[in-house]
Symmetry: C2
């Protein structure tokens, strides 16, 4: 049948005769989720039947957002106005005295695909495209995003689904085209505190002469992302023209991917994965490869650290992930080389943006006490990237990388990149520090990366770039009772105290043998 | 090792020297999720490092809640005060001039079980107990609740897990003890619009003489729950003493389960399942049986409607669900009898709280045009319940039920129950109605229950009790072109228009054959 309702409204959409209110910037920061504030007795709520937590489409001029309604019964709002949270205000590009129209949002039809996925169905390319399309249009609430991320976690995406998700995430963002036959890139799947090799690999590789336009994310579930660490040394919020300018001049950059919107869907999904402390294989592959493809890379080296408390727990899982990365890479037109590395203990000494940046500087400057493990890993990865060049034999690439670090080329290149990105600066120093000592003598057997990371996060990292910890020992180090194992760094006494409370409750965070 | 941080704070907990602010009721209704509002320059944010969306433990006197922080940069808040959303204000039992202490909440350790579940692990009794314990203490954010509900959906809970979840949900709530050897109950797993048999079964069964203290939920994903429909006829917010008084006097009641906190965890989980339109088997079994066990039932009849667009799609799924309900029932000490029924089309005429209540009244009063299908289903279910009585032969139970309806006993009992619950009232009538007509002549082949339900919800049900629709045809009815198939009812023109838009976009919501 065709239903024939004689429609009582003129417009073809519910917005046809949508009711309006003047908007007011309430100055409430709700971070990611747009919130609109209205009085229950305003004519919009009465006409449209909106209630607390209703999803409301708010339109100002040509821009619309779907916001969550908070109902205001006090005098912070007049009856004839609607308040907007900060993110809603900016997304709508609203100004004082603007008038907004309010309507029921179209039902988020792509949630039916999410439900199908929850019930165990396999989703096709169109399903992922419609989900990711709605996600970047900010039509999903936090609850809906959490359901999607959860439904895809736990290895519930097969190869075709991961490829479809990756393509969907590439398609909704910008994709940089470079006028060069080979663009290299590198990535670490993470989970290893202090593994800040990117800040070393990029200047070495760029000094060698390959083009490496590196974009990095901020921390997802860790106390520091590459972009967070780099930001303590130079600006990373480069827009696309700035990024192109830096790369044209220096052959490489270390920029925050979010600023160039390379994978805007990923930036939104990460916002939910972070509080859930969730980072699933399918999402991980799609996140990494969508960003590399969007950045215009042709060849990518991926560092997969393996350890009992790293993100990847054992060799079998590492090889499964490597295979998935290579296969999806091929499907989206990327040559992927995976390098499985030791992930049993933190790399370098610092954990946290500024403390990691300090480790990087000491390696670049060739200081005698620079962390040897960070230097070695960086040279390994730089060698792998350099060997992607069609002119280099793999066996010689590491030696080339070492020479570029030893002769100061990499350090000069790093400073040049920082200057090109807006000027080099000194990492901040924490106001409060507190050592945590060994309870008895013995040899260090193991580190719990996850709990060390949690302690660093409780100390304030990455929100406070100076916060985190400095680890003074390595596996195999012999310590006396009372000797400091690590020192916590924080900007606020509350955070320092909280991290210390946590550490005191986790006696085996650093394991000392008999 | 044992770490030995020389703690710089006196208290054993982070709350030891927790900073404080005066609280202010901001009059912002955020529904379920407690929100606290602070200025970024207040000493609490500075000392504790809180940022927008931080989870903050707020303590006033002996009460604490974990709230989400919204950072306020405007003058709606002074620097030395913290605003509270309505739910935070009530949960804390706060008053003007109260002072609150603020601290980082303990990490929600039970989320590690949720993550394990996401990654495919089976959870034991202790894991579910710790998750549900944290849920009822409101320590889970909406995102975390969504992840838990999603991780358990799609048949990912086995028998032991479903039993563990059910027991955990029983244990955190009140459990009513009755001074009687047999307490009967009934439940419908839902998904069938208009299936309001409870309002008929309870008075018939109580008139027969069995004790049936029925507690019902409000709508989860449907346009009307039993409690919503009953509320249009009498108060349903009975506390435990009131519920006991009604049952002692009349042998039965039809109350809202949420008011007696029979399964407080379920009420919280439903708040997330509803916007996700998600209702999984494990959660369903745990939800139903935890409420029945908590209500003190010994014998329960469960109606499982089956149809291509009902909640349960086919006989096989119905029998699997029936088996799970019976097995978990046995494990928690409940005798469960399942009745699989036809769920291919809506029951009665009304869809929506008040419209369904009208159907119930016409059956109770024995009106000649009362919906025959609703009457028949109610007698079937009442017969099943009556047959649970050890004194009745199954074959005779239905005849007993028919007699009690025919002679007015059930109608008198219903009125008595309404009076005992606080007084009978008339269901409200919608302000706006609009018929939707057949586009051509033919015989009705099928109804899409889900889309009919969505149309009724778009029209405002169950938030507006008068809203929904009246269906004028049944499968097999012959209609002429232009003849009304159903009539939408709404309180607000916006909602009516939105429902009409939706119906116009769904031409096969009621299928007419050639």
């Amino acid at each position: 049948m065709n239903n024939m309702p004689a429609r009582p409204y003129a417009g073809a959409s519910p917005q046809g005769g949508a009711p309006t209110l003047a908007v007011r910037r309430l100055g409430i920061d709700t971070l990611r989720e747009p919130v609109v504030y209205m009085r229950p007795d305003c004519h919009v709520c009465r006409a449209e039947g909106f209630r607390a937590q209703s999803r409301v489409e708010v339109t100002v001029g040509a821009r619309s957002v779907v916001a969550t309604l908070n109902v205001v019964t006090s005098d912070i709002l007049e009856q004839d106005e609607a308040g907007l949270s900060e993110v809603a205000w900016f997304l709508l590009d609203a100004h004082d005295d603007d008038v907004a129209a309010f309507a029921h949002p179209r039902p988020v039809e792509s949630m039916s695909h999410v439900r199908a996925k929850i019930y165990g169905s396999r989703l096709g390319r169109e399903a992922f495209a419609s989900i990711i399309g709605d996600v970047v249009q900010k039509r999903y609430s936090d609850i809906q995003l959490a359901a999607f991320v959860t439904a895809c976690a736990g290895n519930r995406l097969d190869l075709n689904e991961t490829t479809a998700l990756t393509n969907a995430m590439i398609d909704v963002g910008a994709r940089i085209r470079w006028d060069a036959p080979q663009i290299v890139d590198k990535h670490c799947v993470g989970g290893l505190p202090g593994n800040r090799t990117t800040l070393l690999v990029v200047p070495i590789v760029a000094a060698f002469g390959l083009i490496i336009p590196k974009t990095s994310s901020r921390a997802i579930t860790s106390p520091s992302g590459t972009a967070d660490a780099m930001e303590t040394l130079a600006p990373v919020d480069l827009d696309l023209p700035a990024l192109r300018r830096v790369v044209a001049r220096e052959g490489g950059c270390i920029a925050w991917g979010g600023a160039v919107s390379l994978s805007p869907a990923d930036d939104i999904l990460i916002g939910v994965e972070r509080p859930l402390d969730l980072d699933s294989e399918g999402q991980l592959v799609a996140s990494v490869l969508s960003k590399k493809a969007a950045a215009g890379a042709t060849d990518v080296v991926i560092d997969i650290p393996v350890g009992p408390t790293a993100k990847v727990r054992n060799e079998a899982a590492a090889h499964a992930l490597a295979q998935r990365l290579a296969e999806v890479g091929t499907a989206v037109g990327l040559h992927v080389r995976n390098v499985v590395t030791d992930g049993s203990q933190p790399v370098g000494r610092g954990i946290g943006p500024a403390l990691e940046a300090r480790d990087v500087l000491s390696v670049l400057k060739g200081e005698s006490d620079a962390p040897a493990d960070l230097r070695d890993r960086a040279l390994h990865m730089a060698g792998e990237v350099i060997s992607l060049s069609r002119e280099v034999v793999l066996g010689k690439a590491r030696a080339l990388a070492e020479a570029l670090l030893a002769d100061g080329s990499a350090w000069r290149k790093f400073q040049a990149i920082c200057e090109a990105q807006g000027g080099m600066r000194k990492p901040p120093i924490a106001r409060h520090t507190h050592p945590v000592a060994a309870s008895r003598a013995g040899r260090i057997i193991a580190f719990d990366n996850r709990r060390l990371a949690r302690a660093a996060k409780l100390a304030g990292a990455p929100g406070e770039p100076a916060a985190g910890m400095v680890v003074h020992v390595k596996t195999g180090t012999y310590v006396e009772a009372g000797q400091p194992l690590f020192t916590l760094h924080a900007m606020a006494p509350g955070e320092l105290g909280y991290a210390l409370d946590y550490v005191a409750s986790q006696p085996d965070i650093v394991e000392i043998g008999e």
